[in-house]
Amino acid sequence: MKKEKIIEGLFFINGMAVIIVLLGIFALLIINAIPAFKDITLKDFLFGYVWNPEAYTTPSFGILSMVVSTLMVTIGALLIAIPLGIGTAAYLTDVASPKVREIAKPIVEILASIPSVVIGFLGIVLVGPWLAKLTGQSSGLNAINGSILLAVMALPTVISLSEDALGSVPKAYTEASWALGGNKWQTLLMVKIPAAHSGILAACMLGMGRAIGETMTVLMACGNAPAFPHAFTDPVRTMTATVAIELGEVPYNTTHFYALFAVGLVLFVFTFCINLISDLVIHKK
């Protein structure tokens, strides 16, 4: 009896510790972000174009440019990763022979374990020059580059979760479609993908979560120009990159310091919403 109580208590402490750490991080973000708004209005912060915190006379703390940059890079990544990921998943579940599947699956998983700095490196030495040649610009470090790299990083998530979703569609649905004269394509597009849609949606959301919070890759490959981006060929600087670049050098307890925490908080709200939505989607049924 007593032993059981002790074990129970240990698990309780364990669980609580995790929750406390998480809440602590959240509290730290909020506590350090709030003082920023003594000097900046929320409106200027959220809707200002110019981020120039070290300006001598009037520093500006508008994050709109980096929010748009983050969204551009993320959406670009999803535009690449979602069709490719679902296509690959469909190929692996429906078309590939068992042998191909056995080889391809571990490869996809290995893709997930490539360190982001290596992917960023590939962005600089491989994708960058290639994009520069393609667009005729002097540098290929821009939003497309980031999108491509983030797509590569999101793909394993999208592929393996979509594959699980497609694989768990009951065989009876496939049989019903085949018996009605449906070919493989029609069965996939009109029966299997709709039947697996919540799992596939969740896969995409989680892939998005992976892309939006990624730092090192976009820091290396996107060019880091703090200007408002007008095209995918513009160099961009995302929220994550801004925090990573500046937080190391900013003097403590200045408005700039607090503003970086506020940026972190905004990012946290983004990822939190994405995870929340994907959670709701997964548990809808």
């Binding site: 065989k171 649905y173 019903a176 018996a179 009605l180 449906g182 029609q186």
Partner: protein
């Protein structure tokens, strides 16, 4: 006229032989019943006729099945167009997780039919034929998965009829139906044979006797006896057939 000709057909799941040297012909515009104890290979046989077993890994077969004089297992045969002329009602109801309407319309849509009025008419007609229309006409756009088991079964009948097949395969289509729906379904089957060739698996002897022209009795993968339904039920050739249909079996 023979619609389906089966000769020396064997079927194996891996090492286990499930159908043993089956040979018989199925006449068009007739109802043919397949009866036999559970596990004797009735569903397997039915699924061979529209090549549903292609989906199962590790199966093997030999012998010939001809439909309209064409070997359906020939390598050059287009299996999709074969299946288009064969409707199938599976033993377990398997409606798509779509609306009732979309379930019935699916077969039409994948055949490239876009005319919405035509689809509406066909859906209604098929649901009426399957004796389901009155129960679902007010909720065509709700999910088919919310229907009861018997309703789902009739929905699957409607879905198979909508594509206007030449052959209709039915695997115990009345197993989850009440006597009234069963009677109506039987009525439909008898009516359908004017246009279609119908092959039905049933565990209900009276049903086989009522609706079918020919009856095949399977046992442990063998075709024991195949003849006119009346004869089979009144003067079976084999002792074992008699035992089975009179319920003295096992």
């Amino acid at each position: 006229m023979n619609k389906v000709e089966i000769s020396n057909f064997n079927f194996y799941y891996g090492q286990t032989q499930c159908l043993k040297n089956i040979s018989f012909d199925i006449t068009s515009h007739q109802v043919t019943s397949i009866i036999g104890p559970s596990g004797c290979g009735k569903s397997t046989f039915l699924r061979c006729l529209n090549r549903m077993n292609d989906l199962i890994p590790g199966v093997r077969m030999d012998g010939v099945i001809n439909i309209d004089g064409q070997d359906i297992n020939a390598p050059q045969l287009d299996v999709v167009s074969l299946r288009k002329k064969i409707g199938m009602v599976f033993q377990k109801p398997n409606p798509f997780p779509k609306t009732i309407f979309d379930n019935v319309a699916y077969g039409l849509r994948i055949n490239g039919i876009k005319d919405q009025d035509y689809i509406d008419d066909k859906v209604q007609e098929s649901l009426k034929n399957a004796v389901l229309w009155d129960e679902v006409k007010d909720r065509l756009n709700s999910s088919a998965l919310a229907l009861s088991g018997g309703q789902q079964q009739r929905l699957c009948v409607a879905r198979a009829l909508a594509i206007a097949p030449e052959i209709v395969l039915m695997d115990e289509p009345a197993s989850a139906l009440d006597p009234i729906a069963t009677a109506k379904l039987e009525e439909l089957i008898v009516k359908l044979k004017e246009k279609y060739t119908i092959i039905i698996v049933t565990h209900n002897m009276q049903q086989a006797a009522r609706i079918s022209d020919m009856t095949a009795f399977f046992m442990q993968g063998d075709l024991v006896e195949y003849k006119h339904t009346k004869q089979l039920f009144t003067h079976p050739d084999k002792k074992i057939t008699e035992d089975y249909i009179t319920g003295r079996f096992g």
